[in-house]
C-alpha cells in the first residue's frame, strides 16, 4: 500500500509521467480503434432499421456518445482542476487544460449531429429544447475556460484561474440545467420529447455502448498526447526536457 502511494506521487511529476503517457498512448489508440470499429459495425450493419425513424436514427451512434462524453469530460476536467488547486500538483492543471479542447469538440459534435438528426426527424435544425439549450451552454463554458487559460501568460496562474472557473461551472451546471428545463416547460408544452426513451433493440444499445467506449478511449489517447506537448512546452527550461528533445537529434547524428 505504502509503495503504491509513493508511485502515485511519483507520477504526479511531469518528468515521470511523460514516458508513462508515451507508453500508454498506443494502447488507448488501439482500444479506441477496436471499440470504434466494433461499435460502428454493429451500428451500421447489424442493428435493425428503426420502425419509426428509418435509417436516419443511426446518427445516434455518434450523437449519444458525444453528448455523454462532453458532460463527462467536464466533470473529469473539474476534478483535475480541483486536485491541482487543492494539492498544487503541476500535472493536474496540465491535464485539465489538455482535456478542455476534446470536451469542447464533443459538445460541438453533439450539437452538430443533433441538428443533422433533427432536420429529418423533427423538420427543423434547432428547437429550444432543454437538453439542446443546456448542451449549448456547456459549449459556452468550455469556450470560456479555454479563452481564460489562453489569455493568461503565466501557466501557473492560468491553471489556477481555470480551476476556479471549472469548479464554479460544475456548481452551476445543475442550476443551469434545471432552470433551462423549467423555462422550457413553463413557456410551452414541449412539442418534441427527448426524455421518453424509445424501447431500444439490444443490438442498438450494444452498438451505442461500444461507440461510447471507443470515444472514451479516443479522448484519453488525445488528452495524453496533448498533455505530453504541454509538458514539453512548460518544462522546456528543465534538463529532462532538453535530454528528451536532444535524443532524436543525437540518434540522427549517429546514423
Amino acid at each position: 500500500m505504502g509503495n503504491k502511494l509513493i508511485n502515485i506521487y511519483r507520477f504526479a511529476s511531469p518528468q515521470a509521467f511523460y514516458p508513462l503517457a508515451g507508453k500508454m498512448i498506443p494502447w488507448f489508440w488501439t482500444l479506441a480503434a477496436i471499440f470504434g470499429i466494433a461499435g460502428l459495425y454493429i451500428g451500421f450493419l447489424v442493428a435493425p432499421t428503426d420502425a419509426q425513424q428509418g435509417e436516419g436514427y443511426r446518427i445516434i451512434f455518434l450523437h449519444v456518445p458525444a453528448s455523454w462524453l462532453s458532460m463527462f469530460i467536464y466533470l473529469v476536467m473539474a476534478f483535475w482542476a480541483g486536485l491541482g488547486l487543492g494539492f498544487n500538483f503541476r500535472l493536474s492543471g496540465m491535464m485539465a487544460s489538455a482535456l478542455a479542447p476534446t470536451g469542447a469538440l464533443f459538445a460541438f459534435l453533439s450539437l452538430w449531429t443533433g441538428a443533422l438528426w433533427g432536420k429529418p426527424m423533427w423538420g427543423t435544425w434547432w428547437v429550444w429544447d432543454a437538453r439542446l439549450t443546456s448542451e449549448l451552454i456547456l459549449l459556452f463554458l468550455y469556450v470560456g475556460f479555454i479563452a481564460l487559460q489562453s489569455s493568461i501568460d503565466d501557466p501557473r496562474r492560468a491553471d489556477k484561474a481555470g480551476a476556479i472557473l471549472a469548479l464554479v461551472g460544475v456548481v452551476n451546471i445543475p442550476i443551469i440545467y434545471f432552470s433551462v428545463k423549467w423555462w422550457n416547460t413553463l413557456h410551452q408544452g414541449s412539442s418534441v420529447s427527448l426524455t421518453k426513451s424509445p424501447s431500444m433493440a439490444v443490438t442498438m444499445l450494444w452498438g451505442m455502448l461500444l461507440c461510447a467506449l471507443g470515444c472514451w478511449m479516443y479522448s484519453i489517447a488525445v488528452a495524453l498526447m496533448r498533455v505530453r506537448s504541454i509538458m514539453l512546452e512548460r518544462e522546456r527550461h528543465t534538463d529532462w526536457v532538453r535530454a528528451e528533445l536532444a535524443e532524436p537529434g543525437e540518434h540522427a547524428g549517429q546514423e
Binding site: 488547486l85 451552454i137 459556452f140 470560456g144 481564460l148 493568461i152 476556479i164 464554479v168 432552470s179 423549467w182
Partner: protein, 222 residues
Amino acid sequence: MLNLIRAIISRDLRLALRRRADLVSALFFFIIVVSLFPLGVGPEPELLRKLAPGVLWVAALLATLLSLPRLFADDHRDGTLEQLALAPQPLGLIVLGKVLAHWLVSGLPLTLLAPVLGIQFDLSGEALWVLAFSLLIGTPALSGIGAIGAALTLGVRGGGVLLSLLVLPLYIPVLIFGAGAVDAAVIGLGAQAHLSLLGAMMLGGVFFAPWPTAAALRIALE
C-alpha cells in the same frame, strides 16, 4: 465584521461618486440599448409588450457587465487591493462589501430606471411592479457572480471581452427567472414561483460568490 463591510461600502461609494461619468454612462447604455429595440422590431404595442421582459433583462445584464471590470481594476492598479488582501480580516468579507457597493451603484439605479423604460413598452402597472421587484432581487446575484469573473480576468489581456465570455453563461439562470417573472405577470399568471427562485439565487450568489472571488484575487495578486 459589519463595520468592515460598512467601511468598504462607504469607501467604494465615495470613489464611485467622485467619478460620476462612469456611473451615468452605464445607465445611459442601458437606456439606449432598450430604446433601440422598438426601432429595430417595429412599434406595435402587442409585440413590444411581449418582448419587454426579455429586452429589459438582457439590457440589464449587459449594463452590469459594462461596469464589472472596474470592480477591482482601479484598486489593483494603485496597490490598494494588495493591502486589502494583507488585512487581518477575511478577504471574502471585503469582497462582499465591494459586491454590495457595486450593486448600489449599478444594480439599484437600473432597478429604479427599468419601470420608466417599461412604460415605453406599454407594460401594465402590475407587470412594472414585478419588473422592478425582479430586478431588485436579481441584480445582487449579477454583481456577486460577476465579481468572480472580474477577479479571474484581473490584469489579463483582452479582459473586457473575456469577462463577458465567462460571466454571461453563468447569468443564464438569473435571466430565465427574472424575465420569466415579468413574463408571467404580463400573461396574468402569478410571478411568485419565479420570484422565489430568483430570491434563492440572489442569496446563494451573494453568499457564496465572494469566496471563489477571494481565491481568484489571491491568484491574481501572486
